[in-house]
Point group: C2
Chain length 197, copies 2
């Protein structure tokens, strides 16, 4: 099987397909992503789309990786331009809140595949573990900067940070709650304050 991504146009089309697919995933979830629906969204034939990935599953993986890359660029990268410590940590959660408020396909994929073994689940686990580690590391740096108490458990704080983002995502999308970001901000503030030095 030869995939279609050797010429410049091929690469461009590949990116365009993935972009359209992400749009579909945001509305319908990763599992409902079909070759046919992506082809329609990209105004291409089913075979044309298929040739770019080789299988539906590999297309889903490509979309998942693209989402992770997008998250990294929009949420983590800007925050890493802030100095280590609470300032960077606050930048992460601030960018992350915007991201979650707009809808996060990775969170959706997490729920869809958390009990369904396979390569997609494995990929989701991989990205979520990396994110959690990055969070715990950012907390650690805030401890080293003397801004958070030394006796806290970074993984526990990362755990609780994640929970706040999850409920923000939940309320924003299910309830259409306009005050969800404000509530999440209050929760973050309380969390940081109770661990402050």
């Amino acid at each position: 099987m030869v995939l279609a991504a050797a010429t410049s146009k091929g690469v461009a089309t590949h990116g365009a397909i993935v972009e359209r697919a992400i749009g579909l995933v945001r509305k319908q979830g990763l599992e409902s992503l079909s070759i046919g629906s992506v082809a329609q969204a990209a105004t291409m034939s089913k075979s044309g789309v298929f040739a770019h990935f080789g299988s539906r599953e590999d297309m889903q993986l490509a979309v998942l990786d693209a989402v992770a890359e997008d998250f990294s660029q929009r949420v983590l990268a800007p925050a890493f331009r802030q100095p280590r410590g609470l300032k960077r940590l606050r930048a992460i959660v601030s960018n992350w809140m915007e991201w979650a408020h707009d809808g996060c396909p990775m969170i959706a994929a997490t729920i869809e595949y958390d009990d369904r073994p396979g390569v997609i689940r494995d990929r989701v686990v991989y990205w979520q573990r990396r994110l959690r580690e990055a969070l715990a590391r950012a907390v650690e740096l805030a401890v080293e900067a003397g801004e958070l108490r030394a006796d806290i458990d970074p993984e526990q704080v990362a755990f609780e940070l994640f929970g706040i983002v999850l409920v923000l995502h939940h309320d924003s999308h299910l309830f259409g709650a306009t005050d969800a970001i404000a509530r999440a901000t209050r929760a973050f503030d309380r969390l940081f304050a109770s661990h402050a030095n």
Copy 2:
């Protein structure tokens, strides 16, 4: 259209079908619930299952309601036998942690349908709003009992409680984390402690 639930056997079969369906939903999600898969799980014909609900969507709604009823019986009802206040609140989150650790189809449905308008989404919103109100009410009672400070916002506390359960569910199922309940317990303790009187 005449639904099949007039005789005693009909009612029994209806319940058995829903029970099997809940098993499938726990593994695959509500959206992937098909007449065919439920029929196979219940060792019945497609038409036999279909006759009990009239449509796939109504079957999904029946399953959703059954899950909500189950949650009410297992999580809320036992806690309501505890006295109002922190004791009842702790009973709720304790039962709820067990429930989430075992897997909650309602959380899965929330993600699956949060951006997909329709009667299923409406039903999910209904149940989640009721749960959130019950939580806020339980917090209010703890304030009235003098166990939590009077200046707290019960809805904010309910928001944060929900977040902790979401991340507990996430870590239990995606990571298979055995320490998720312990972490959630610590988070609850910190939350209650920071609002204690």
